[in-house]
């Protein structure tokens, strides 16, 4: 469920970045307090493993995210929530940078969706409660499946909310939810099975590998109110946002970048495709925002004339100039690139 930058707006991305950075700092402090020699290589190698497991993925059409095993739960069981959150974060960072899998702006969202829910919700409130300290028993299997499903469902819902709040994808909210949640239900079951199997395997073949996990403090009860609070806040904010998004298009204006940009579009619903008519009805609101940018307003008046604000009634001439200009600019940048390179070679 990696989200790409192309679907996120800076406000949503930035907010999630802040939230995630705070979580990382918090977890880093926690892990440092209980650091032992075993934990470092275990964190690294398990991260690398999860990394590999995540590579087995498939895109979910239209949502801009992909489905794959999350790995958050398994890491949490083996390493404890704090270390696991750090590991998941590092995995996503490396994926974003080296494989262009998941965007940089979306990094905060991705880390939160894939790390926070399994580590701080599914593990302490579901897995621990059901599995207690058993490995490889029926209890443990059930616990892993339920926890994995819940963790992924929350994560998937996070994706939906963040994408909707950004308002770049055309997919309507309900369709989006219908697309994401069932797929992640299936993935969750697979992930739960895989988690239980791996944990049982490790507990059997290398019991000492489980020790570092036990050395790490579990979320103390004092943390729970904070976490629950955070969860509730997320749900409320997300729910409100999605409600606005689905019923009142203008509700999306809460997103900072759009505060001042707002313009009604008139009657364009005549070109509905029959097959997509239903969907289209729900999306009718979508074209009515984002036609121009905040910054456009701030820009000098003489510039606005050339701005996309004019697009709904745009003249052919403007389009042509945009295309010509774009192509020429591209050409120029390539030339500058070559020039820089030539200069270097000459030096």
């Amino acid at each position: 469920m990696h989200m790409a930058d192309a679907l996120i707006n800076p406000a949503v991305g930035g907010t999630m970045w802040l939230v995630t950075a705070g979580l990382i700092a918090y977890c880093a402090r926690k892990v440092k307090q209980t650091m032992n020699d075993r934990l470092v290589p275990m964190m690294g190698v398990l991260g690398a493993f999860i990394f590999a497991a995540m590579m087995i993925n498939f895109s979910i059409p239209g949502t801009g995210s992909s489905g794959h095993l999350g790995g958050g739960l398994i890491l949490t069981i083996l390493l404890g929530p704090y270390a696991a959150f750090l590991v998941i974060s590092s995995v996503l960072v490396v994926q974003a940078f080296f494989f262009a899998d998941g965007g940089l702006l979306a990094l905060g969202c991705n880390i939160f969706n894939l790390g926070f829910f399994p580590a701080f919700i599914a593990y302490p409130f579901i897995y621990r409660v059901i599995a207690r300290d058993e490995y490889g028993t029926l209890r443990a299997w059930i616990a892993a499946i339920v926890a994995a499903v819940v963790g992924l469902q929350l994560g998937a819902f996070g994706v939906v909310l963040e994408t909707k709040a950004s308002g770049i994808s055309e997919l309507p909210f309900s369709a989006f939810v219908l697309l994401m949640q069932p797929i992640h239900l299936a993935i969750g079951i697979v992930e739960g099975l895989a988690t239980a199997a791996v944990v049982a395997f490790v507990a059997h073949a290398r019991p000492e590998a489980l020790f570092p996990a036990q050395a790490v403090v579990e979320p103390r009860n004092s943390m729970r109110p904070v976490l629950i609070g955070l969860l509730i806040a997320t749900v409320i904010v997300g729910g409100a946002a999605s409600w606005f998004a689905s019923t009142h298009p203008d509700g999306l204006e809460w997103s900072i970048a759009k505060v001042s940009g707002k313009e009604e579009v008139s009657g364009t619903e005549d070109n509905l495709h029959k097959g997509l008519g239903q969907l289209q009805e729900k999306t009718a609101f979508l074209p009515d925002y984002g036609f121009k940018s905040t910054e456009t307003e701030a820009a000098p008046a003489e510039q606005t004339a050339a701005e996309p604000e004019q697009w709904p009634t745009i003249s052919a001439g403007t389009s042509v100039s945009g295309i010509v200009g774009g192509l020429i600019t591209l050409g120029l940048t390539v030339l500058i690139g070559f020039a820089l390179k030539a200069r270097r070679a000459g030096v």
Binding site: D5, V87, S90, F97, F98, S169, P308, G325, T329, G337
Partner: protein, 268 residues
């Protein structure tokens, strides 16, 4: 994911070690500039296309300055592209509103936003890739640490990265011997693969442990020390400041359109 792709990380590693003006810049300067770049690119309205083009200057400049083979970056972008295609695919289907026309053709908003998504995708991805190719994971790690990233996290990042090679290596070794000793590779049962994966995990864990101990044996205490301690110099300030200014200008004024207007306007 194929071995080929894994080997490509090794390639990234080699690029990251080059010594060029782009590589000599402080990692922090490049990180900050890249973040500003991505935020600005993503802040454009959804139908924007032409105004995005001037932004290609940034990745192109880094690729040229850093002597990164453009083909390599291009290949990596193409590898990730299907993903973005799928993302944008629905826009033309769902959004038919005509908002622009070129001659006799009319362009629907869906196609415009699709084009816009693809452009942003290429821009942001190439910026991220060139950042790594011009910095390398170690310099990046050292830079992040000095940007107040928690050390535990940075160490984890570096270890993850290093152990990726360990796992790939262990996995490749296993696959190699497996291949050599199976007469009919297709006949391998799932059970064999299951046990192989489990075994790979255990082997990698054991190896990771040994590698870590070897590091500890040579005085590693969790602090990342870079061989070439860079300090933020005037070039770094100039780099960050200059590009930020350029991004701001290109964000406020549609440079491409202006250019096209001058040329097209002059021509017609």
């Amino acid at each position: 994911m194929g071995l080929g792709q894994w080997l490509e990380i090794g390639r990234m590693d080699e690029l990251g070690r080059l010594d060029t003006p782009a590589h000599r810049l402080d990692a922090r300067a490049k990180v900050i500039t890249t973040i500003v770049f991505i935020v600005v690119v993503m802040s454009f309205p959804r139908y924007e296309v032409s105004a995005l083009t001037p932004f290609f200057l940034y990745p192109f400049a880094l690729i040229a300055l850093g002597r990164i083979p453009p083909g390599y970056i291009l290949r990596k972008i193409l590898l990730a592209a299907p993903f973005a295609l799928v993302v944008g695919m629905f826009n033309p289907l769902l959004d038919h509103q005509v908002i622009a026309s070129v001659g006799v053709w009319s362009i629907s908003g869906g196609w415009l936003s699709f084009a816009s998504i693809m452009l942003r995708f290429v821009l942001t991805v190439s910026a991220a890739l060139t950042l790594i190719a011009c910095t390398g994971i170690y310099r990046l790690g050292a830079g992040l640490e000095r940007m107040c990233m928690p050390r535990v996290f940075v160490v984890q990042l570096l270890f993850l990265y290093r152990y990726l090679f360990v796992i790939v290596d262990e996995g490749a070794r296993m696959m190699r011997s497996l291949e050599l000793r199976s007469a009919r590779p297709s006949s391998l049962r799932l059970r064999v693969y299951g046990s192989l994966v489990g075994h790979l995990l255990l082997r990698s864990m054991a190896r990771a442990d040994r590698v870590y101990r070897a590091m500890a044996a040579r005085g590693f205490d969790g602090k990342i020390r870079a061989l070439h301690r860079a300090s933020f110099q005037w070039t770094d300030w100039a780099f960050t400041g200059g590009w930020t200014a350029f991004f701001a200008i290109a964000r406020m004024w549609n440079l491409a359109d202006a250019l096209g207007r001058i040329l097209a306007g002059g021509g017609s």
